[in-house]
């Protein structure tokens, strides 16, 4: 999915027609979001199989609710056991959960803008850079990698607590 996003991103930069630049540009945002969404959903499904079919808007709430609660319970358990490596891992995972929830919210809002708000144009800032509703494409390009770093931290703590 990410290579599709990168292709659309490059097309948006290289096209000369303003309409085509806008269409490719908003599609790039959409695909960068989906690239992140698919990875997040797959990782959540590995934590709990029942989380494999979550709707887009449900993911930030799940992260801020059930995932954080479980990590907090685990941290408490690790504290009781005196396993401070796991306590520290849980703390990092809690920060990652918060950051990932925010990232998903921003990505989702941008994807909604890209798909359903053609009246909000893609704004070309320079020859190689554009943004949609204040979100830069460079930021969107980093979404999948950023999400992946957060997910690694979360799954690593989760595994120590639940495997």
């Amino acid at each position: 999915m990410e290579i599709v996003a990168q292709h659309l991103h490059q097309e948006a930069i290289h096209r000369t027609s303003p309409i085509e630049r806008d269409l490719f540009g908003r599609s790039a945002f959409n695909r960068y979001y989906y690239s992140m969404f698919i990875e997040v959903r797959a990782s959540l499904a590995m934590l709990r199989p029942e989380w494999s079919r979550l709707a887009h808007a449900a993911i930030p709430d799940l992260l801020k609710g059930k995932v954080k609660d479980e990590l907090k319970r685990g941290r408490k358990r690790a504290e009781k056991m005196g396993d401070f490596d796991v306590v520290s891992l849980c703390e990092s995972a809690l920060s990652a959960t918060e950051a990932l929830a925010k990232l998903m919210e921003q990505g989702y809002a941008t994807r909604v803008t890209a798909d359903y708000y053609p009246d909000i144009p893609v704004d070309f800032l320079s020859a190689n850079d554009f943004q949609l509703n204040t979100v830069s494409v460079k930021k969107a390009q980093a979404w999948p990698h950023r999400a992946s770093a957060f997910l690694k931290t979360i799954t690593s703590a989760w595994k120590q607590l639940n495997a």
Partner: protein
């Protein structure tokens, strides 16, 4: 109900300036997404504050409007871009990428290493990060996470496996940990880990070089009710062994 212009006016009255256009969720949640660009006051506090945003959000919720504020902190984005450039410049052979989030003037940093880093390298990275954040921006390094695929079982994970199989010998425990998706470097690594845990009274060694969780730690490990109860899992494991 307020329209978008009304929401903008209300937020403006509260000193919250909106960036970009208001967007409504097309899915089931019916949330309204609002981009807010935050800045810093002379004391390095966020403007508008999280409390101000929370109050506005609650006020709008009382009118039946659920908003999600999406904050853009250009200052933090610049710091992160600088941090990434600094780390890749200094440790380009060891670090692939770097991310940062800031909560209450403490930075959480995630680094993606290209390989397993030794202590000397980790310390050098830590020192560089601390200097960059503190000297240039007055931000403390809250935590540094090296995202890696290293997957050694923690003491807690080993204890859970011992509880499940007790009394258990080392080869059987090693197999169980591997089945649970952990990497166990060697039998010797496991023996040392178990010895250290035994010295801390976390486990006891029984006849025949087999291990069980100490009474104190069985209590600390706790339990849960329902399908995922470790007691039920253990009972099933015992039954399975008895049936062999």
């Amino acid at each position: 109900m307020l329209d978008h212009a009304g929401i903008l006016a209300l937020l403006g009255e509260r000193g919250i300036s909106v960036a970009g256009s208001i967007v409504e969720d097309t899915g089931t949640s019916k949330h309204i997404f609002i981009h807010v660009e935050v800045s810093r006051d002379p004391d390095n506090k966020q403007v508008p504050s999280n409390q101000k945003l929370k109050d506005a959000s609650q006020y709008l919720a009382s009118m039946g409007i659920i908003v999600e504020f999406l904050l853009t902190d250009a200052h933090h984005q610049d710091i992160e871009a600088g941090l990434r450039a600094t780390m890749l410049h200094a440790f380009g052979n060891d670090i692939r990428n770097a991310f940062m989030s800031v909560v209450k003037n403490e930075a959480q940093v995630w680094l993606e290493p290209k390989r397993t880093l030794d202590k000397k390298m980790s310390d050098a990275i830590h020192k560089k990060l601390k200097t960059y954040l503190k000297e240039f921006f007055g931000i403390e390094l809250g935590s540094l996470v090296m995202t890696s695929d290293a997957n050694l079982p923690s003491n807690l994970a080993v204890l859970r496996a011992v509880r499940y199989l007790a009394p258990v010998d080392r080869p059987c425990l090693l197999r169980e940990l591997v089945n649970r998706g952990f990497t166990v470097p060697s039998m010797d690594w496991l023996r040392r880990r178990l010895d250290a845990m035994r010295r801390k009274d976390q486990i006891v060694r029984l006849e025949g070089d087999r291990y069980a969780v100490s009474l104190k730690n069985i209590r600390s490990l706790g339990t849960v009710k329902g399908r995922e109860s470790p007691d039920i899992a253990r009972l099933l494991a015992l039954a399975k062994r008895g049936m062999r």
